[in-house]
């Protein structure tokens, strides 16, 4: 385990003001929602952190904050010691954000053209970087087909391929097996195991506890913006632990 954390989150909070014309006019625009409050954790190279929690609890917000797609209200995030607010471009080179949004590709273009486009945005030569990644993800045979012809499972694998093109140290995955049939979900899970075996640091937002059991790693639960890491005893049933944690109120710092 290295001394510098791959990801360090310190006193991170995110407030979403709810702006409407009426609120602007009446001066009540400061009202809104605290999506995350006082989140603290460190993740070291090679570690996997699963983030669980009910819908709307702040899990995606946390991942988007780390990816630089949202600005924190308070607190600090650093990636390999680099502050994400001060060094956004350097940080992006080390992060792979897998959106798990099947619409975030160009449906009329082939898989190859989609990957080539995003490879060029990463300052990479598509001909060099795409073949090894798609071979690992067993996507080679699909690349000449237009994206809209893919099944959801293939789309998800292409999404993972996009996130791996620049060989990032850290992967952020937001519900990687959501909307997949059991077989496709199992394939994606297997790919994550292979990626984990290569020593990548991963933060995985998920609702599926079998992912946690198959891959193994640290587990945190986010509920109503509060983040708490779960310490499991050997053999403790994760499902029961999760249910108990979500039903209880999680207090910051507890």
């Amino acid at each position: 385990m290295g001394t510098t954390p791959a990801v360090a989150v310190s006193r991170l909070s995110k407030f979403f003001p709810l702006i409407t014309l009426r609120r602007l006019l009446t001066g009540t625009w400061q009202q809104g929602v605290w999506a995350l409050q006082e989140v603290d954790f460190e993740l070291f190279p090679g570690e996997v952190l699963f983030i669980l929690g009910p819908n709307g609890s702040g899990k995606t917000t946390l991942v988007k904050l780390i990816a630089g797609l949202l600005a924190p209200t308070n607190g600090r995030i650093s990636v390999h010691g680099l502050d994400t607010a001060r060094f956004p471009l350097q940080v992006k080179r080390r992060l792979g954000y897998i959106t798990c949004n099947e619409y975030s590709f160009y449906g009329r273009l082939t898989g190859w053209r989609n990957l080539a486009f995003f490879a060029q945005l990463q300052n990479l030569d598509p001909k060099t970087v795409i073949p090894p990644v798609v071979e690992t993800l067993r996507l080679t045979e699909y690349l000449d087909r237009r994206f809209f012809t893919y099944s959801t499972g293939i789309k998800r694998r292409l999404d993972i391929a996009r996130g791996l093109l620049h060989q990032p140290d850290i992967l952020l995955l937001d519900e990687p097996t959501t909307n997949l049939d059991p077989l496709s979900a199992a394939k994606v899970r297997q790919l994550l195991i292979e990626i984990q075996a290569r020593g990548k640091t991963m933060i995985i937002v998920t609702h599926r506890l079998e992912e946690v059991q198959k891959l193994g790693g640290r587990v945190a639960i986010v509920k109503e913006g509060r983040f708490q890491e779960v310490t499991r005893e050997a053999g403790e049933n994760l499902e029961e632990l999760y249910a108990r944690m979500v039903e209880e109120n999680i207090h910051a710092g507890s």
Binding site: K14, F16, P17, I19, A35, T61, K64, A67, G68, L69, L70, A71, T73, L89, Q90, K92, R93, L95, Y97, T99, N101, Y103, S104, F105, Y106, R108, L109, R113, A116, F117, F118, Q120, L121, Q122, N123, R146, R162
Partner: protein, 270 residues
């Protein structure tokens, strides 16, 4: 701005456009039918309008309106392309996928509209080619250098309005007042379909404050009267002032809007 990234956007949009081959045909057909309509309309208005049209090469209404129609399409792209690109990116999630790459937002935004500008320029050429080959549009006296300068200035004077519109959409999502207002006012008051001299005096004063008025006048003088860049110094100066004031202002507003969108979490909302 790295050239290979700009090229990647251009190729992406070209391939996307080529995936709808019939679209090219119908775009050409639309220009053709529009020209046919105005050609016959031009035959109708001959005579009565001759005094108003005397300053535009003496070729009557058709050459006058052809330049107006061609440039209106170009202006439409300048006003709308950035906000459309931003909206599409927000709606599909491709904007977030691009923003997590080490690519500045300015590169993403400006490269996303490059193909549309090239396409709009080609449309102008199609207008002129159809006009010259099929309807006797007089291209002989055109000063193409002046025309190119006027197109560039039209772009620089209108692009900031498109950037302001995109900034508005980043935060408020819909209901952008800028492009609607400028677009409608320009169509009505800048002289696309009729010379400004037919407007009442006070409306002519209003039209002076629209950049498109000067763009149209400059391009018509370049194409229909062969005026040189030096002879179009008034239009060049006015459009340059619009560009010099609005470009930095719009870029600052856009940067602020991106910051606010990250703060408010509206980048992926639609």
């Amino acid at each position: 701005m790295r050239v290979h990234k700009v090229a990647a956007f251009f190729v992406r949009d070209l391939l996307w456009d080529l995936s709808y081959p019939l679209n090219f045909f119908w775009r050409g057909a639309s220009i053709f039918f529009s020209l046919v309509t105005f050609y016959f309309l031009g035959r109708l208005v001959i005579g009565g309008a001759s005094g108003h049209l005397a300053a535009y090469g003496g070729g009557g209404y058709f050459p006058f309106v052809l330049v107006g129609l061609a440039l209106a399409g170009f202006q439409n792209v300048a006003l709308n392309s950035i906000s459309r690109a931003v909206q599409y990116g927000m709606y599909t999630g491709t904007l977030e996928a691009m923003l997590v790459t080490p690519t500045p937002i300015s590169t993403i935004v400006f490269s996303s509209v490059l193909y549309q500008f090239v396409s709009a320029l080609l449309s102008i050429l199609v207008y002129l080619a159809f006009g010259a080959l099929l309807f006797g549009f007089p291209l002989g006296q055109a000063d193409f250098l002046s025309a190119a300068v006027m197109l560039l200035l039209t772009l620089l004077a209108h692009l900031p309005l498109g950037i302001l519109s995109a900034s508005f959409l980043l935060i408020f999502k819909r209901g952008d007042p800028i492009t609607s207002l400028v677009g409608h006012l320009s169509a009505l008051l800048a002289g696309v379909y009729f010379p400004l001299s037919v407007l009442p005096g006070w409306l002519q004063v209003v039209s002076f404050f629209l950049p498109f008025t000067h763009a149209l006048e400059g391009l018509r003088q370049a194409v229909l009267n062969g005026r040189t860049v030096m002879e179009l110094s008034t239009q060049v100066m006015v459009l340059s002032i619009f560009a010099i004031i609005l470009l930095p202002l719009s870029l600052a507003v856009f940067s602020y809007a991106i910051h606010q969108a990250k703060r408010l979490g509206t980048l992926s909302q639609f």
